[in-house]
Amino acid sequence: MKIAVLIKQVPGAESPLQISSDQKWVDESAVAYVMNESDNYALEEALQIKEAHGEGEVVAVSLGPERVQKTVREALAKGADRAIHIKMDTVEAIDPLVTAGHFKNPLEEENFDLIFTGLQSDDLGMGQTGVILGEMLGMTTASLVMATEVSAGNIKVKRELEAGWFQWVSLSLPASITIQSGLNTPRYPSLKGIMGAKKKEIKVIEGEGTDAGQSMVKMYLPQSEKQTVMIEGSADQVVEKLMDAFRNNVNVL
């Protein structure tokens, strides 16, 4: 079983986000980067499938500038066998068709049985790359996957539907699957893994720019939809004011 896991490096949940001066993106110099959350689950699922089958290969694939190699190394330290870095400096490319297009040729050459991607990225949140890539490579696709069962030539996945419903779907391989957060418990890299990662191969491919079907006009802070009453003071003062609001405005006490 040969599995590609697409890993995106994104600003961490706690990272400062300053809008850049051209208002087209964030100021990257202020950002603390991490591995995209659902990609971390996708990587774990791939590693568990490989371990359960006792053979196979997990390849971490990432698109972005030089800095993404830090996140790629983290994937290698967790157990990916090797990595492919598609090098591309453009930060404003927001069109998933363009993004998926970067992955198409490098992945096609490798003949993967499975491509795993996180459900969506924590920056753009387009949630499309894995499914588009599946179509481009003639693979079957399923999204929002909460469990996987791999057998010969086939993968059965538990898809999350809306409002607490689920559905099992069988797909013939090769398949491109988007993984929902929470389906496993991602591991931390071991010290041995971190040391071993330094010797693992990262193949670097230069990406090429193409025309985008959608582009950024402007980024800005969201406009508040409500007049929020901000309550300030020490913890005791805050509690006092909250009690007053609960009693006299919200009417729940």
């Binding site: 929002l144 607490g164 950024m216």
Partner: protein, 325 residues
């Protein structure tokens, strides 16, 4: 037609988000002087077409095909592609449902045309629509435009448009056909099921105490439980808490959990990602405590406290208990 609105079924009815996209399509049609129609497909195409014909639309297309009776990404992406090829719309609108997320990216790749997803607003500038989308887990907003010529695929976030804004009318129904072959459909679906039937019903609660990632660790959950008991409310959570295994998924609020509108929604350590907000935005009073002043949940809150929930929760519990005794 210029605008094609693709509708989906939910329990025999047009999916609520489909009605919302009818409202969006009608608005785009008015503002840009374009014609709009709807497309229904699948096992219940007749029923959905009848329902859709009661709205102000140019016409309703229905596609009946044995291979579309149950949903598949292969079948639906191919069928909608063929209809788009036949009708040549400039804009194809969808609600941003889980089904749409599953097959419309395939459709986008088949057409090699962009899919502008999960929009919260749309406006027309110099004859061109500008779409507004949340990015960075709703911490920032982005205006996005489509380039080149259509068809452009566009989806709208739940409640971006009100279904009540969909204008009633009378539309003609036209049956259309697609060429599908059983070998195209390479997936097999089992019937949908619910994991924890009869679990926690949060939808009728008046008071909900909801915890997010900011609760920090499982050992802190009892603090929230105590507060919840003191208030006489129900305990709920955002996805990270459920993913961490700290509370069962029956407590989850949001697109993959329950949608609620209590009198008081007390959001503790919840950042306010889109997937959560769609499930609680309708609450009468949203009170938020979060240490991050930039947490997007403040934007929809009636009362906000920038502070440490672990310090405030026990004091609040104590004050409520004192009052009730």
């Amino acid at each position: 037609m210029d605008i094609l609105i693709v509708l989906e079924e939910s329990n025999g009815q047009i999916h609520r988000m489909g009605l919302e996209s009818i409202a969006a399509g009608q608005r785009l049609s008015d503002e840009m002087g374009l014609t709009a129609g709807a497309l229904v497909l699948g096992g219940n195409a007749d029923g959905l077409a009848d329902q859709a014909s009661k709205y102000q639309l140019g016409e309703v297309l229905k596609v009946k095909d044995a291979l579309l009776e149950s949903y598949s990404a292969d079948g639906y992406s191919e069928a909608v592609k063929q209809i788009i090829d036949q009708e040549n719309p400039t804009y194809v609108l969808f609600g941003h449902t889980y089904q749409v997320r599953d097959y419309v990216p395939r459709l986008s790749a088949k057409l090699n045309k962009p899919f502008l997803v999960d929009n919260i607003a749309i406006r027309v500038e110099n004859g061109q629509p500008i779409f507004t989308k949340q990015m960075f887990n709703a911490k920032l907003s982005a205006d996005v435009k489509a380039n080149g010529s259509g068809p452009f695929l566009v989806s709208f976030q739940s409640a971006a448009f009100s279904m009540d804004a969909a204008v009633a009318g009378s539309a003609s129904i036209r049956e259309s056909t697609v060429q599908l072959d059983a070998a195209m459909i390479r997936t097999k679906s089992e019937p949908p099921f619910q994991e924890e039937a009869g679990g926690v019903d949060l939808t009728s609660a008046d008071i909900i105490v909801s915890i997010g990632r900011g609760i920090g660790k499982e050992e802190n959950i009892p603090l929230a439980v105590e507060l919840c008991k003191a208030l006489g409310g129900e305990l709920a959570a955002s996805r990270p808490v459920v993913d961490s295994g700290w509370l069962p998924s029956a407590h989850q609020i949001g697109s993959s959990g329950q949608s609620v509108s209590p009198k008081l929604y007390l959001a503790l350590g919840i950042s306010g990602a889109i997937q959560h907000v769609v499930g609680m935005k309708g609450s009468k009073n949203i009170v938020t405590i979060n240490k991050d002043p930039d947490a997007p949940i403040f934007e929809i809150s009636d009362y906000g406290v920038v502070g440490d929930i672990l310090e405030i929760i026990p004091k609040l519990t104590e004050a409520i208990q004192a009052l009730k005794n």
